[in-house]
Subunit: 133 residues, 2 copies
């Protein structure tokens, strides 16, 4: 696996982060135990972006403790995968509704169907520790 020694995400992984592969996002519960759920994923080339709704367990967890990990398989070959540990460096509600619509179009072909009452939030995750197994 390519090691990320700079701030930029290797091209090979960018294709997965901008495609239709799901990421499995691990966060920490209040008692320190892990939680993991599938999520849509995005990247700006520096950060890995995850968009969730306010009040979900992963939102609560990332607000409290920014240490996360992600696992993403190559959609064409599940034995090729990216795993990364990282830190939430910032989160924002600004543009998050538009962002979830963009993600929804990419993953499903149509605009996001969630309740209009949902408050969306984007988490910016900085990859810190790619590891091999």
């Amino acid at each position: 696996m390519t090691h990320m020694t700079t701030n930029t995400i290797p091209e090979k992984y960018m294709a997965w982060l901008k495609g239709r592969a799901f990421a499995h996002l691990a966060t920490l519960m209040p008692d320190g135990s892990p939680q993991v759920t599938p999520v849509w994923v995005d990247s700006d080339g520096v950060y890995i972006l995850v968009n969730t709704a306010r009040g979900r367990q992963k939102d609560i967890n990332m607000q409290r403790d920014g240490r996360v990990a992600l696992s993403i398989q190559d959609p064409d070959n599940p034995y090729e995968y990216m795993q990364v540990r990282g830190l939430v460096e910032l989160s924002t509600e600004n543009g998050a509704r538009q962002h979830i619509d963009e993600l929804s179009v990419r993953y499903t072909g149509h605009a996001y169907q969630g309740s209009p009452d949902q408050v969306r939030v984007i988490y910016f995750i900085r990859p810190m520790y790619p590891i091999d197994e």
Copy 2:
């Protein structure tokens, strides 16, 4: 999502655990941060079974702290998924080589191709906290 109030795993999820879907297994690093990787998965109806090699990060992590989480998507519909938090209740090397061969045949159609020097270990995970989002 069906809540597991007993020790037995719901039939719907057993199909995924006995099929060819990957699980994404989250464990805890020494500093308490999460790690997550795709793994083959199995079940005896009570425990979720994961088979790994001695010395891998997930092996080291689970030996030290048995708190884990798994996320598994329905191979036919990624928007149906199982997520569970659980505890490693036991682990054993007994039968683990035969078990990885069985898993390999199920997932790939052929016997396991890993080094014969590998020491394999089966982890028995008891599901504790299924949650919804």
